[in-house]
């Protein structure tokens, strides 16, 4: 390698934009928000140190915090397994060597691509409203549907449905994973007279576990951070009766509705710890069920 490529000065010159961003937009703010989480701060007057007060209040005296935790965990626990199941099931159907694969793949991927838009959240509000499309369809079968969006029993489920509808991108990742399973393994197994079902459980599924693991971690972290649909569907309130009060929505309300910046910073750090614990747990348990080639 030439002299220039090894000179520390050249290296840091090239790294500079990223380095400024990392220190000024990521590391600095991360540490500063940790500090803010121990303060009371309303943007107008300087932060006042309050010690652990924010955290104590969060865990002991804040019913809305627990409501948002419950909503978020229910959302994650329902939406991620359902989404991944659909993604895997459709990917397996598509991997049977059928005609029209690109068309099907495109159709199933489209909702994933558009799903983050406000437009889709608006559409969902209409579909599951009292006079929405779902009830129109149900009425054809003589069923009188509920007002799904404004009924606290169902409102969160409509958002789960919205998340599951967007199974396209994990499906594409599964499809790519299925393609990588060497054909000779299937050949050997079917030569030995193994049934399709046995081949699936003994070869396909174990060899696919790294991809399942990857999708599981990514989708779970993403689900913890969901915001836009809940905001649009509930008009930013998290209602009815806090039933769609996603964690990030509560954080937003505290920070930009009530200007409790210190408290919101504490909420952000709790979220970071939850995501870090989940990720660590996922990686630690992965060696018991994820099959890695050696």
């Amino acid at each position: 390698m030439s002299h220039a490529a090894r000179s520390p000065l050249a290296g840091y010159m090239f790294l500079l934009p990223w380095l400024i961003g990392f220190l000024g937009l990521t590391l600095g703010p991360t540490l500063y928000s940790l500090y803010l989480s121990f303060t009371s701060y309303n943007l107008l007057s300087p932060p006042v140190w309050v010690g652990l007060e924010n955290y104590v209040r969060l865990f002991t005296a804040d019913a809305k915090f627990w409501a948002s935790m419950r909503v978020t965990f229910v959302f994650v626990i329902l939406s991620v397994p359902l989404k991944l199941s659909f993604a895997l099931a459709i990917a397996i159907l598509l991997d049977r060597g059928i005609r029209g694969l690109p068309v099907y793949r495109a159709i199933f991927y489209l909702p994933s691509l558009l799903g983050g838009s406000v437009a889709i959240a608006i559409l969902w509000r209409q579909i599951f409203g009292r006079n929405g499309v779902l009830n129109l369809v149900l009425a054809q079968f003589g069923i009188e549907g509920a007002s799904w969006i404004s009924d606290p029993r169902y409102s969160l489920l409509t958002l789960v449905a919205l998340a599951v509808w967007q199974f396209g991108s994990p499906m594409i990742i599964f499809l790519a994973g299925l393609r990588q399973i060497p054909t000779d393994m299937y050949e050997a197994a079917s030569m030995d007279g193994a049934s399709r079902r046995r081949i699936f459980f003994l070869i396909t599924l174990p060899l696919l576990t790294p991809v399942i693991f990857f999708n599981f971690v990514i989708q779970t972290i993403d689900a913890f951070k969901a915001f836009t649909p809940a905001f649009i569907v509930s008009n930013g309130t998290g209602g009815p009766a806090n039933s769609t009060l996603f964690y990030t929505l509560y954080l937003y309300q505290e920070a930009f509705g009530n200007f409790r910046m210190g408290y919101a910073a504490a909420l952000a750090w709790v979220l970071l710890v939850i995501i870090a614990l989940f990720t660590a747990f996922a990686f630690l348990t992965s060696r018991f069920w994820v099959h890695y080639d050696e």
Partner: protein, 284 residues
């Protein structure tokens, strides 16, 4: 194409597979097609029919929606477009430069900084949100596009740095080492050799940056306060507040328009999108 086993599926299996897939396709597309048809059907019909076929095609909803707010949707589209295009430029320049530095230059601390970069991949943006907001408030950048596009020029999207690092690692080192022997400066190697060889990954990064920026709701919600600066997503949100039950048609018309750029990208770059997701494991 890996089929399950060496024998192709028998015709009953094929038929059942197609039936299942077509049924699923109908469920997946129905909401989108319904919205499309709601945007062109007479307003009164929207709440009467779950059918996809409008009795007549009228453009009233588009006309009403376009100027349904104090500021026309044309302005919102322009604002979104400006933010998305500048974001694409920023991400392409800054992320490729960072990726080049991490993969091709040798300097003390490189591995440490690379590990730091990887560490930021999983960091939820909520943790940096409030300090960044305070910072941009103090610099007077709130209600401008600067907090939305500025960070892109500092490679704040670690995901794209990582994506490009992966790609750059696949480019044989012999190519740039030979150039270095000939006395090429690192800058020229980056600009004249690496970037031209990286068009696929640059295109992928550009497309996904555009889509994500176009769809972004949280950033504009926090940083853009006056209606003249709103993006399409914020415009739609205000439209819900402003419109009563009677103008769902206009709301749907503008919603359809807001999805149109994404749909066009989908049609044109479908292959690239699918490959991008399959090879990098993007979440959306």
């Amino acid at each position: 194409m890996s089929d399950q086993g060496i024998t192709p599926p028998s015709w009953p299996v094929r038929t059942i597979t197609h039936v299942l897939l077509i049924a699923a396709s109908v469920v997946m597309l129905y909401p989108l097609l319904w919205m499309l048809s709601a945007s062109v059907r007479p307003e009164a019909e929207i709440f009467d029919s779950g059918s996809l076929w409008p009795s007549a095609i009228v453009w009233d909803s588009f006309v009403a929606g376009w100027s349904g707010l104090r500021v026309s949707f044309g302005q919102f589209f322009l604002n979104s477009l400006v933010i998305a295009v500048i974001s694409v430029i920023g991400n392409l320049m800054a992320c490729s430069l960072a990726a080049f530095t991490f993969t091709r230059l040798d300097f003390p601390g490189r591995n440490f900084w690379f590990a730091m970069m990887l560490g930021t991949l999983m960091l939820p943006y909520h943790v940096t949100l409030i300090p960044q907001y305070v910072m941009f408030l103090n610099t007077g950048w709130v209600d401008t596009i600067l907090p939305l596009v500025g960070p892109k020029f500092l490679a704040a999207d670690a995901f794209f740095v990582f994506l490009m690092v992966q790609f750059f690692r696949g480019i044989p080192r012999e190519i740039d080492e030979a150039a270095m022997m000939d006395g090429c400066s690192p800058w020229r190697i980056y600009w004249k050799i690496m970037l031209p060889l990286s068009l696929p990954v640059l295109a992928t990064a550009a497309i996904f940056t555009f889509i994500w920026t176009w769809e972004d709701f949280f950033g504009p919600l926090i940083y853009l306060t006056s209606i003249g600066n709103y993006t399409v997503q914020l415009g739609l949100r205000s439209f819900i507040d402003a419109s009563s039950q009677s103008s769902w048609g206009a709301l749907f018309a503008m919603s359809v328009l807001s999805l149109l750029p994404l749909f066009l990208i989908f049609i044109i770059f479908q292959r690239m999108l699918v490959e991008g997701i399959a090879t990098t494991g993007m979440k959306r």
